[in-house]
């Protein structure tokens, strides 16, 4: 018998939300997965070369990660998430991931499914399709999916609890910043991680917007914006409302040029007057020194405002 195919997972965009689900699903079906390496200069450069120049930094990185998988895997797994909740949608980038990759790297074999609840295309149906394409018995697929789903939920709950505990135990004199960003920015080794490291070096308590209780954040987001229909941005601004009493400042990390964020952050700046806001726009030409200076001065302002000597 021939070897089972190897599935490639690009370490970018949705990976930061669904990594546990994806890995566990393929593992229990007996497939080996390969995740692209942590983001680095080379991956970004490859991505910049492969992508249309006006794409956002996150998508450029994504293409770099896809390229890093070429030759190492048989399939690249690219879910297309269009709509997670009725009347809502994701950024249009997520609609087109498969098509962009297909047109950019025609030699790659893709494993795709479509997630669009408004059109009745639910996640489980998508995974059934993936299983069928790999020649797996549907019952086995569904079992693997449920198991993976549970593991994903446990992992998320664990992360959220960790943050909740941290928020509750933080000493009152500490400087607390809510890092408001998409997970694929805030946890990317090349983007958010290095920024959060600078914050940690300055003894700042970091809260992440994506770890706020999910349902509550979604409901609270209405207080800032009634019309917002991007699911991930909704969760972000909901987190601002949720942590409002527990933070000294808000740090937005944005990939240039992020379409939804450009509007949503402007709305927040117009609406939130009581908490200092800093917006860091990240692009491929970023220098570390400039970032560090801006972060330091922002933290200084927060500490000054809190009445502590620096």
């Amino acid at each position: 018998m021939s070897q089972p195919p190897i599935i490639g997972l690009p370490r970018a965009l949705l990976y930061y939300k669904y990594s546990t689900l994806w890995k566990s699903f393929f593992k229990s079906l007996g497939f080996k997965t390969v995740v692209s390496p942590l983001s680095n200069r080379q991956i970004l450069e490859d991505g910049v070369r492969a992508a249309i120049d006006e794409n956002c930094l996150a998508l450029k990185l994504y293409l770099g990660h896809v390229q890093a998988l070429i030759g190492k895997v048989d399939y690249v797994f690219i879910p297309r998430i269009f709509c997670l909740y009725p009347q809502e949608t994701l950024c249009t980038k997520f609609y087109a991931l498969g098509d962009i990759v297909r047109n950019t790297f025609p030699e790659l074999k893709l494993l795709e499914y479509n997630h669009d609840v408004e059109q009745g295309e639910h996640e489980w149906k998508g995974y059934l399709k993936v299983g069928r394409e790999l020649g797996i018995n549907p019952l086995k697929t569904i079992h693997a999916y449920w198991k993976a789903k549970q593991e994903q939920a446990e992992e998320e709950a664990k992360q959220r609890q960790k943050q909740a505990k941290q928020v509750a135990e933080v000493p009152p004199e500490a400087t607390r910043i809510l890092v408001t960003a998409h997970p694929y920015i805030s946890y990317d080794a090349f983007l958010g991680k290095s920024i959060c490291k600078i914050l940690e070096e300055m003894d700042v308590e970091i809260h992440y917007s994506d770890l706020a209780p999910h349902q509550q954040a979604r409901e609270l987001s209405r207080q800032l914006s009634s019309d917002l229909y991007w699911t991930y941005n909704k969760e972000q601004i909901g987190a601002i409302e949720y942590y409002r009493q527990d933070i000294d400042g808000i740090l937005f990390l944005v990939a240039f040029p992020c379409g939804p964020d450009a509007l949503v952050i402007n709305l927040c700046q117009n609406q939130i007057k009581d908490i200092p806001i800093c917006v860091l726009t990240l692009d491929e030409l970023q220098g570390d020194a400039g970032l560090r200076t801006r972060i330091e001065s922002f933290v200084d302002i927060l500490r000054f405002k809190k009445g502590r000597t620096i």
Partner: protein, 358 residues
């Protein structure tokens, strides 16, 4: 209650078409001044830096209208981030100290909802009157589209320079005053004849080029630096296939339209790309198959759906040996740059034609 002074953003010449609807509930209609550099400057000044250019134009329109005394603004949009413009613009304008109400006809725009919104504003109106006026507006838009199509096809071959434009201006001002469906239809018939009688010097197989892209910059000539006119002046037929009529008819059954467009875009694009991105891929394939000489793709800088379409367009261009010129508009785009690139594109198309590449 105070007087309702209504205003709406510009999009090509459609301000003429929407008036019958606005008249239903407006005590006074203020059409903002035609888009100018000033519109863009003032809009840009108060917009988020990386908002796309339609946001800046419409915000500029609104500021100019508010300065003239408007107090009820109407915002259309949907599809990509256009659907979210409304709320963001409202907060920006309120922060600038303007007093006004906002009527948002975004996402899920359908005629029944528009009718209900109007009925809420003016309860004394009957649904019959509302429906009649909406239909009149639609007919006016359709009539504008018919005439503009003639312009695009023939303007480049006129014997007397400017004859088409002069006639079009006359038509618009007459259409603006047409009050009934019959007037609109008669006017259209009369002017179709008058346009047909303009002397032309058109070869049997003229060079044809297509224009596709994001709906706002395609339809608002100021925002695309009048590329259709510019291109026609080189003596080519300009085809567009994207108009208010098309947009409205498609929106009656948007799910089916999306399905058809995706089907027509295969194998280059297998899913809906958002906004009008799939439409661009679909049209590019269509134009390439029909033997057009080339294609111009226009979009605002950072337009997400159109960027999604671009990798597919690159491959269509390669597979069909079909030249595509890409334009991206932002606040700093210079007219000279556009003109130079159009000229070079045209020269290249002519050389290919001469060499019988196709």
């Amino acid at each position: 209650m105070s007087k309702r002074i209504v205003s709406i953003g510009h999009l090509g010449n459609y301000y003429v078409a929407v008036k019958p609807i606005l008249k239903l509930f407006a005590d006074e209609i203020i059409i903002p001044p035609r888009i100018s550099r000033y519109t863009l400057e003032i809009g840009n000044k108060y917009s988020p830096e990386s908002a796309c250019i339609p946001f800046k134009y419409t915000l500029g329109n609104f500021i100019e209208a508010l300065d003239k005394g408007a107090n009820l603004l109407i915002q259309l949009g949907g599809g990509c981030r256009m659907g979210y413009y409304g709320e963001v613009q409202r907060h920006i304008l309120k922060n600038l100290g303007y007093e006004f109400e906002f009527m948002k006809l975004t996402n899920n725009t359908n005629i029944i909802r528009i009718a209900q919104d109007i009925k809420q504003l003016v309860p004394s109106l009957s649904y019959w009157t509302i429906a009649k006026q909406i239909y009149l507006a639609f007919r006016k838009a359709a009539a504008i589209d018919v005439i503009e199509e003639i312009m695009r096809l023939n303007m480049g071959f006129e014997m007397q320079q400017g004859s088409h434009e002069r006639l079009f201006k006359a038509y618009l001002s007459k259409l603006d005053h047409a009050e009934t469906l019959r007037d609109v239809n008669e006017l259209l018939a009369v002017f179709q004849k008058r346009f047909a009688s303009l002397p032309l010097n058109k070869p049997e197989n003229p060079i044809r080029i297509g224009v596709v892209g994001e709906i706002y910059v395609v339809m608002e000539p100021f925002s695309n630096f009048f590329i259709e006119k510019e291109m026609a002046n080189y003596g080519v037929e300009v085809h567009r296939h994207l108009s208010a009529t098309e947009f409205i008819v498609n929106n009656l059954n948007i799910q089916k339209r999306i399905k058809d467009a995706v089907e027509a875009s295969k194998p280059y694009s297998q899913h809906y790309l958002g906004g009008h991105g799939t439409g661009s891929v679909e049209l590019a394939i269509k134009f390439a198959r029909e033997g057009f000489a080339g294609l111009i793709h226009v979009k605002p800088f950072g337009c997400m759906p159109e960027i999604n379409a671009m990798p597919a367009l690159h491959n269509i261009s390669r597979d069909f040996n079909f030249p595509i010129l890409y334009f991206s508009f932002d606040t700093l785009t210079s007219e000279t740059g556009i003109k130079t690139r159009l000229e070079a594109f045209h020269d290249m198309l002519m050389m290919r034609e001469d060499a019988h590449v196709r």
